[in-house]
Symmetry: C2
Subunit: 110 residues, 2 copies
């Protein structure tokens, strides 16, 4: 059954231009190297992203389903290569949808 | 002015037992070393956290202000040491409040 699910998932995830994809987004930083797959220096302020198949230079809108927050990012890299993950955001894109792993919190003794 | 704000911030952030603190939470993983400040092996499944002053073994409730999601974590480490940050969550704690940097998204061509 797991294999079947994986295959169904793969069919849906072929090309965002064809009606879009749903899956997991992650974010990555310079630790993956300072050059992207299309040869650019890893951008710090511009909103970019890595996708497995979308054309370099094309723009994708990424919407977090639980919050509705979205960001448009320019594809300049390839990835992610972990099953179920469909896009990898650079820090600027991740911050724009609250995915940076930082949040304002209240801490009290329990 | 920035210095003054920093000082005010510091006064509020002395001890979570005294009415709580508000500030930025981040999360960290094994990249910071496999031993915590109290000598434990870095836990993977248990919800733990690093705090600058709370007693080792005490429990803190961390609430994300934008979502209301909260987690109780056991203090076993010291940190974070970046201005404005008041607590560092291990991956298990971070996932519990949606801070793990992963999210389900929809991607469409823009």
């Amino acid at each position: 059954m797991a294999l079947a699910v994986g295959l169904i998932w793969a069919v849906v995830s072929i090309d965002p231009a064809v009606g879009g994809q749903t899956g997991i987004a992650s974010w990555y930083g310079r630790e993956s190297g300072s050059r992207t797959a299309n040869g650019e220096k890893f951008p710090t302020s511009e909103r970019t992203c890595a996708h497995r198949s979308a054309r370099f230079g094309s723009h994708l809108r990424v919407t977090v389903l639980s919050t509705g927050r979205s960001v448009v990012c320019r594809v300049n890299d390839r990835g992610p290569f972990i099953r179920g993950r469909i896009i990898d955001l650079n820090p600027a894109s991740a911050r724009a949808v609250g995915l940076s792993g930082l949040a304002k919190v209240r801490v009290v003794a329990d």
